[in-house]
C-alpha cells in the first residue's frame, strides 16, 4: 500500500505545518535508574539484570542520585524551571519489553518544565519552547523472530532486559509553528542542538545509531490562516538527524495529499522506514493509550533544594549560543559556516581538531566536506565516523609538511575509516607518501616524454596546455603519489 504524496512546494501553497518533537536521551550513568545493574551497551543478553529491573515481587527501587543531577542539569540547560517537589508515577501498559507491566516515569510533576532553546536555521532564529523534561526508565530490547524480522508475521519474540531500567530523560517540545518550508530543517537542527547540548553537559553518549538519543516527530498540517491545529501523527523510530528531516518532509507531503483529497488525517503512531524514507501506519490511538498513571508508591518524592539546584547550575558548560559566538570570532568563521558545522554536529569535532594542532580552516575543510560526505553516504552522524579529531589533525600535519597531497589525504581517510590504523600506519601500509625523490620522478617523466614524442613537440612549440596530458600519465605511473606541480616543473625543464 503506497501512500499518495504531494509535491513539497504544493504542500506549502495550502498548509502550515506544526511540529512537535519528543526526544529521549539515555543518560550515561554507570548504573541503572533504580538499581545497581550496569548500563553498558552490547553486553551478553540478560547479564545486567536483577530483581528490581526484572520486576520480581518484593524488589524495591532506589533512585540513582547522579541521574537526578543529570536531569536537573539538562533542565537548567534548557532554561526550564526545576520543580521543587515531584513524584515518580507508574505508566501502566502490557507489553513484554517491561516485566512489571508498568514503566516508572513522571506524569504531572516533571522535574523540569517551561523552558526554551534557540536554534539557527539558514540564518533565521527559531525559538523552540520546551514543555517539560522528565525522568523515566528505558525498556528491554525485543527481537522479533520469523520470516520478516519485523513484528508483523513474527512467530515469537526474544527479550534482552539489559536495557530495562536505564535512565532516560524525555524532552517534550511545545508545537513549533511558523516554520513553513523550513519545518524539516528546524526539526533536524533542534535534535542536532540537543545532541550538542547533551554532549557538552556530558550526560549522555548521544549515539543515535545505538539508541542513546531517540526522536519521535509529531506533525500536523492546518490550512494557511487557520487558528486551530490539525490532527497530528507521531512518527517513531527516527534514528538519525537525516531521518528526522526526511520523516518530517514525508509526513508533510503525505498528510497534505490526504487533506487535499478531501480526507482527514488519522491520529496514529507511524513508523519511519530508513530504506525508503517513508512512514507507515503503526496503530491508531486507542483505549490502550489509557495508561492509568498513578504515583509510584515504592519511591519517595524528589525534592531538590534551591542550594542543590544552584550547585548544579554552577557546573553547566558555556551556553551553546555563547560558545558559537566565541568560536566564530576565534576562528574567523561567518554565520553560515558556523551554522553548517552545528547542524552537521561537527562543532566539537572541529574544536578538538584545532586543539590537536590543525588550522581552523583545515579542520573545517575536512569535517565539513570530505568527512561530512562520507557520513552522509553511510547514513550516520559525522561524529559516528571511526576517525578521531587527533587523526584528522595528523593527516593535515602531513599535508602541511608536503608528505601528502589533498588527494592522498583522502585515501588516508579511507584507510583510517576502514580500520587500518592511525594515519601514519595507513600511509606506510598503502604506500601513500608523496614521492619527493626526484630520481624516481625524473625517470618517470623521461619515460612519458619518450613515449609521446608528438605531444613533447607541441610543448616545445609553446603549446604549454598540452603538458596536462603528460602530467596525467606521470601521475598515473607514480600511482598518484607525486606532486603534480613538481611534475610540471620537471616536464617544462626538459622541453623548454
Amino acid at each position: 500500500m503506497n501512500d499518495e504524496i504531494l509535491d513539497f512546494d504544493e504542500v506549502l501553497e495550502s498548509y502550515e505545518p506544526a511540529l512537535g518533537l519528543e526526544v529521549h536521551v539515555e543518560l550515561n550513568t554507570a548504573s541503572k535508574m533504580f538499581c545497581g545493574c550496569s548500563t553498558a551497551f552490547g553486553d551478553e543478553p540478560n547479564s545486567n539484570t536483577c530483581p528490581v529491573c526484572l520486576g520480581l515481587p518484593g524488589a524495591l527501587p532506589v533512585v540513582n542520585r547522579k541521574a537526578v543531577e543529570s536531569a536537573i542539569r539538562i533542565g537548567l540547560a534548557l532554561n526550564c524551571q526545576i520543580a521543587p517537589w515531584g513524584r515518580f508515577a507508574r505508566k501502566n501498559y502490557f507489553y513484554p519489553d517491561m516485566t512489571k507491566n508498568f514503566q516508572t516515569s513522571q506524569y504531572d510533576e516533571p522535574i523540569a518544565h517551561d523552558g526554551w532553546v534557540e536554534i539557527d536555521v539558514e540564518g533565521e532564529t527559531f525559538r523552540v519552547e520546551i514543555e517539560r523534561a522528565h525522568m523515566e526508565e528505558d525498556a528491554g530490547k525485543l527481537t522479533h523472530a520469523g520470516s520478516s524480522g519485523r513484528i508483523h508475521g513474527a512467530e515469537y519474540s526474544l527479550i534482552d532486559y539489559n536495557r530495562a531500567g536505564t535512565p532516560l530523560i524525555e524532552i517534550v517540545s511545545r508545537p513549533v509553528l511558523g516554520a513553513g518550508a523550513k519545518a524539516p530543517a528546524v526539526a533536524r537542527a533542534y535534535v542536532a542542538h540537543l545532541r550538542e547540548m547533551m554532549r557538552a553537559l556530558d550526560v549522555s553518549d548521544v549515539r543515535m545509531e545505538q539508541g542513546s538519543l531517540r526522536c519521535d516527530a509529531n506533525l500536523s498540517l492546518a490550512p494557511i490562516g487557520s487558528t486551530t491545529l490539525g490532527t497530528r501523527t507521531e512518527t517513531k523510530n527516527v534514528n538519525s538527524l537525516r531521518s528526522v528531516e526526511r520523516a518530517v518532509t514525508f509526513e508533510m507531503r503525505r498528510q497534505a495529499a490526504v487533506l487535499a483529497g478531501g480526507g482527514s488525517v488519522v491520529q496514529e503512531t507511524r513508523h519511519f522506514d530508513e530504506a525508503t524514507g517513508t512512514t507507515r501506519s503503526g496503530r491508531p490511538k486507542s483505549d490502550a493509550d489509557d495508561y492509568r498513571y498513578f504515583a509510584e508508591p515504592d519511591l519517595v518524592p524528589v525534592a531538590p533544594s534551591a542550594q542543590w539546584v544552584e550547585e548544579l547550575r554552577a557546573t553547566l558548560p558555556e551556553p551553546p549560543a555563547e560558545r558559537r559566538r566565541r568560536l566564530a570570532s576565534e576562528w574567523g568563521f561567518d554565520e553560515i559556516a558556523m551554522t553548517t558545522l552545528v547542524n552537521l554536529g561537527a562543532l566539537g569535532l572541529v574544536e578538538d581538531t584545532v586543539a590537536a594542532g590543525a588550522s581552523p580552516q583545515a579542520a573545517r575543510k575536512w569535517w565539513g566536506t570530505e568527512l561530512a560526505r562520507r557520513s552522509n553516504e553511510a547514513g550516520i552522524g559525522v561524529d559516528e565516523l571511526t576517525i578521531t579529531p587527533a587523526q584528522v589533525a595528523e593527516v593535515q600535519r602531513m599535508v602541511d609538511e608536503g608528505k601528502l597531497t589533498d588527494k592522498l589525504a583522502r585515501q588516508v581517510f579511507d584507510g583510517v575509516l576502514a580500520g587500518e590504523g592511525d594515519p601514519a600506519e595507513v600511509v606506510a601500509s598503502r604506500g601513500l607518501e608523496v614521492v619527493s625523490d626526484d630520481g624516481a620522478l625524473a625517470a618517470a617523466v623521461d619515460d612519458v616524454i619518450a613515449a609521446n614524442p608528438d605531444v613533447a613537440d607541441k610543448i616545445r612549440d609553446g603549446k604549454h596546455q598540452a603538458a596536462g596530458a603528460l602530467i596525467g600519465q606521470v601521475m598515473k605511473a607514480m600511482r598518484g603519489s607525486a606532486d603534480a606541480a613538481r611534475v610540471r616543473e620537471l616536464i617544462m625543464e626538459r622541453l623548454a
Partner: protein, 97 residues
C-alpha cells in the same frame, strides 16, 4: 456519580482481567461503595492538609551511581517459561507498542 458496568468492563480490559457481563454488573455497585468511601476522606481533608503519598515524610532517598553485581544470565532466566539464545522467549505479539 455511580460507576457503570460499562466503566467496569473498560477498566477490566485495560487491566487484562476477564470479566463476564454479569460480573461487571455485580462489581459496579460494589466498587462504587469503595469509591464513595474514599471520596469521604477527600471531603474531610481540607486545603490545610498537605498531600501525602507516603507514611514517612521522606524525600530524596537516593543511591550513589555505583554498579553492583547483577544476576547471572542463567539466574535471570531461571524462572522464564521459555528461553532462546539467552533471551526470554514470549509468544507472538499482536499489536505494536
Amino acid at each position: 456519580m455511580a460507576l457503570t458496568p460499562e466503566e467496569v468492563a473498560r477498566l477490566a480490559g485495560l487491566a487484562r482481567i476477564q470479566l463476564t457481563e454479569q460480573e461487571c454488573a455485580e462489581l459496579a455497585p460494589e466498587l462504587d461503595v469503595i469509591l464513595t468511601s474514599v471520596h469521604q476522606v477527600a471531603e474531610v481533608a481540607g486545603p490545610d492538609v498537605p498531600l501525602m503519598t507516603h507514611a514517612m515524610p521522606l524525600v530524596n532517598v537516593t543511591r550513589e551511581d555505583v554498579v553492583r553485581r547483577s544476576l547471572t544470565p542463567a539466574e535471570a532466566l531461571s524462572g522464564a517459561p521459555a528461553v532462546e539464545e539467552g533471551r526470554f522467549r514470549v509468544p507472538q505479539i499482536l499489536s505494536e507498542d
